[in-house]
């Protein structure tokens, strides 16, 4: 037998026999099943990080002992003086901590500064341990936050990044589930601003959101708002926004209006050749379309037929995770998370193409 590294067969054999790619880390699930461990990590005040051996060496020096004793005496005297002089609120140390509280929806929690957070069913938040720090940890689900104005920065931390607000109202939703079709794990945070300004920040980037703007933050990705993506033509952004709104309002006609029905009609009638960049389906789909709509005699009839096949039932949340533009700038493909209910998530990849004088959606 020659050098092992010369034999790909062994690598392949080991891969086949041992490989596993169905192991998915799910920190939220782990957290939920180990509350006591989480509590131990998050509730205690930090210990000193100096190695004990060095601390002992330092403390053993006589001079240090004397200095330490002097500092303690001065601190005690000063402390007593301050306590006797100041009002109680003036003596509150800034690093003081309190026990964290966890709230689970449906409920509404009002903070000491007057800010409120409304938790939907299944949503969960935890207050900060640090006294005086405004905000909270968003753990799961959908929440609506109203921040009391004029009282400094208010920060909501999440595993995806942090959301900083200054006097505003905003909605946050943590999506955590699996694609109903592909079983792909889907995790993201969506932030939508109702009033004021919000800054969404993580290690990958920052996105500032104003009224009616929203951003999607996937794990290990920069916050993304297609409406502020300057690489995308304005008309395309409008089309994407129209698609999202049509889903949100459950408006089939508005959704269908994004498609170039005139082109689909001409394709069905054989007046134009099948072109995969202009028609989302395959060549076989285009053939089937011709057979299905043989009796259709106008683009309007085609539109009516199309409307009857659309499966939009009621408001659907759509989060645009990313949009990629082709190098020639005439084709775009998005990745969207469509949420029909709490447990029904589908990842879709709609496409648009710039033709016939405008941007048209060609695939859903």
């Amino acid at each position: 037998m020659g050098r092992v590294n010369d034999h790909k067969w062994l690598d392949q054999a080991l891969n086949k026999a041992i490989h596993s790619d169905d192991t998915q880390p799910d920190f939220e699930k782990w957290k939920a099943s180990h509350p006591e461990a989480v509590e131990m990590l998050t509730s205690r005040t930090p210990q000193t990080q100096r190695p004990p051996v060095i601390r002992r060496m330092i403390m053993n020096a006589t001079l240090v002992k004397l200095a330490a004793a002097a500092v303690i005496v001065v601190a005690v005297v000063l402390g007593i003086t301050q306590l006797t002089r100041n009002s109680p609120e003036g003596t509150m140390p800034t690093t003081q901590t309190v026990a964290q509280e966890t709230f689970t929806g449906p409920t509404t929690h009002t903070f000491a500064d007057g800010s409120t957070v409304q938790l939907a069913q299944g949503a969960s938040i935890r207050t900060y341990a640090q006294v005086g720090k405004r905000g909270f940890e968003h753990i799961a689900g959908q929440i609506d936050v109203t921040v009391a104005k004029g009282k400094g920065e208010f920060i909501v931390t999440t595993p995806y990044g942090e959301v900083k607000a200054l006097g505003t109202q905003f909605k946050m939703e943590m999506v955590d589930g699996t694609d109903a079709n592909t079983k792909e794990q889907v995790k993201l945070l969506a932030v939508e601003v109702a009033e004021g300004v919000v800054e969404v920040r993580n290690a990958k980037g920052v996105q500032t959101l104003r009224k009616m703007q929203n951003a999607v933050v996937a794990m290990d990705s920069a916050p993304y708002d297609f409406n502020q993506d300057e690489k995308l033509p304005a008309e395309l952004r409008g089309r994407i926004a129209a698609m999202v709104k049509a889903f949100e309002t459950g408006d089939k006609a508005a959704w269908a209006a994004n498609f170039n029905m005139g082109y689909v009609y001409r394709l069905a009638k054989g007046e134009v050749q099948y072109d995969p960049s202009l028609f989302g389906g395959s060549a076989e789909d285009a053939e089937r379309l011709k057979q299905t709509v043989a009796q259709v005699s106008s683009p309007e009839q085609m539109r009516q037929l199309f409307l009857g096949t659309i499966n939009i039932t009621g408001p659907v949340e759509v989060y645009v995770r990313s949009v990629e533009l082709s190098p020639d700038g005439n084709h775009a493909r998005a990745e969207c998370i469509t949420r029909r209910s709490e447990n029904h998530i589908v990842v879709t990849k709609p496409q648009w193409h710039n033709f016939d004088g405008g941007w048209w959606q060609i695939d859903d």
Binding site: T23, H34, Q49, G161, E162
Partner: protein, 187 residues
Amino acid sequence: MRIESLEHSDAALVEAAQQGRLDSFGALYQRYHNPIVALAYAQLGDRHSAEDAAQEVFAVACRDLRSLRDRDKFGAWLGGICRNVTKQMLRVKTRTAPLPSEPEEVATDGQPEQKEQWDAVRRAVWELPAAERELIVMRYFNGFSQARISQVLDLTPAAVNGRLTRAKRRIAELLERDGFGSESWDA
């Protein structure tokens, strides 16, 4: 320390987590969960038990994180916890490093001969000394990088390379002994 630390080094994440930042511990969990499942699988020979072991490893780590001084060694520290947890599980089950017993999870493509081949490979892997078995399982379980393996097993990349080569040579010999040499895999 804010959320920016999510993409930072182990040491930065550990430091933030030691100060109570659960999101930083979450990032460490995401980073090390699969390698720890692989390491536990190398000890237990059963994927479901390995998943359970990993859950317990992170629970222990979360509880004891503040005691970790050498933050750069988080991976190795976690690996140590994993070995302790799996030893305890094996003690409870009064068995030692059994052969994997989950044919339904192995890609056999429906061919009995292939199933026999995969079984032979796994048998050979589980005949290796524990240290070599850990390396092989970690390398092929989920294709972890040499760097990640080095961190969890507390070895230098060169040592990982050398040991991997030796372990593979040993597996090839064991397969040859059992009649599953390189020629059996050509088809």
